[in-house]
Amino acid sequence: MADGFLTASTAIIIIPLLTLALGTLIGYMAQRSGFCSIGGMRDLMMFKHTRLFFGYLALIGGGFLGYFLFWIIIPSAFPNFFWPLTQSNPLTPIPGAPGGLSIISYVILAIIGGFGMGLIGVLLGGCPLRQIIMGTEGNLRSIFFILGLAVGAIIFHAWVIKLVVMILP
């Protein structure tokens, strides 16, 4: 098992607290800024507004900077950073993808999953994070969306993933 900043036993105690704190920070700031990934793409395509879209680009940039910084400090926590450079096929997904499918299956799943998420997201007016934030603002539609997310998690792991593993190589 790869090493991080903490040992496994400390991490078990600290992770719930840290993720709760990070989530609270993100929730607060997302409510103030209206941050939304799918909304950013929609605004760019419909109105040529770049404000939200730059937020999404900043997420990619910030993620890369963060990984790079912490990778310099403690390389063992990021064992597969620069993953495609070490693989013969750069489309190999990073380890931990479920199901043990072939590479082409993951690409097909990524195309189906991304397309469906984008289409439904834009028709319902926001990505999952934005829907949660709208729910906390008192929008009852979004609260039903969040309930749908919760039920969807159980449906996916009870039936959909088994079906997918059965169909795809």
Partner: protein, 171 residues
């Protein structure tokens, strides 16, 4: 807006790009912590996956079932989504933007189905748009294909929205 007030903290946090950098940076920090407890890589922040972990974790605990979870959530819960709900609620009430908005029952049902569908599509990709960005930053090109597909889905959705608004005669 004067120059001074532009740089006040309450205005800076209204810039989405600032939040983007914050999420990316702290997700990388969390990543450096969860890896030792067995978590998958590029898992610092994800709306769909962390919801899945929370819901399935509770479901497994109550029913004794063994629905799929990320390795990290098998040992300790990730509470990101609870935090997002708390943070969003605090921000909305503090700034007096909390307001109950009702709709027709059919709309509720559509949003409920939409939630189920979005979570299933997200887990097929293995990431919500946020984790897709984090995975791409980590160097996963499958996530890039996912992001391009999301953009494709959004493009189709925008065409549908434009078609609907045209037929209704707005704009």
């Amino acid at each position: 807006m004067t120059k001074e007030s532009k740089y006040k903290f309450s205005n800076i946090i209204k810039i989405p790009a600032f939040l983007g950098i914050i999420i990316g940076f702290f997700a990388a920090l969390i990543q450096a912590l969860i890896i030792s407890a067995g978590g998958p890589e590029a898992y610092g922040f994800c709306v769909a996956c962390h919801t899945r972990d929370l819901v399935n974790g509770f479901f497994n605990a109550f029913t004794g079932d063994s629905l799929g979870l990320a390795p990290i959530s098998a040992v300790t819960p990730v509470l990101t989504i609870i935090g997002v709900i708390i943070g969003g609620y605090v921000a909305a009430t503090r700034n007096k933007e909390f307001k109950i908005k009702k709709a027709k029952p059919l709309i509720y049902f559509l949003y409920f189905l939409g939630g189920i569908a979005v979570l299933n599509f997200a887990l097929l990709l293995g990431a919500c748009p946020y984790r897709a960005a984090l995975r791409f930053a980590y160097g996963d090109f499958v996530a890039l294909i996912g992001i391009i597909s999301i953009a494709g889905g959004v493009a189709l959705g925008v065409l549908i929205l434009l078609f609907i608004t045209k037929r209704r005669g707005f704009k």
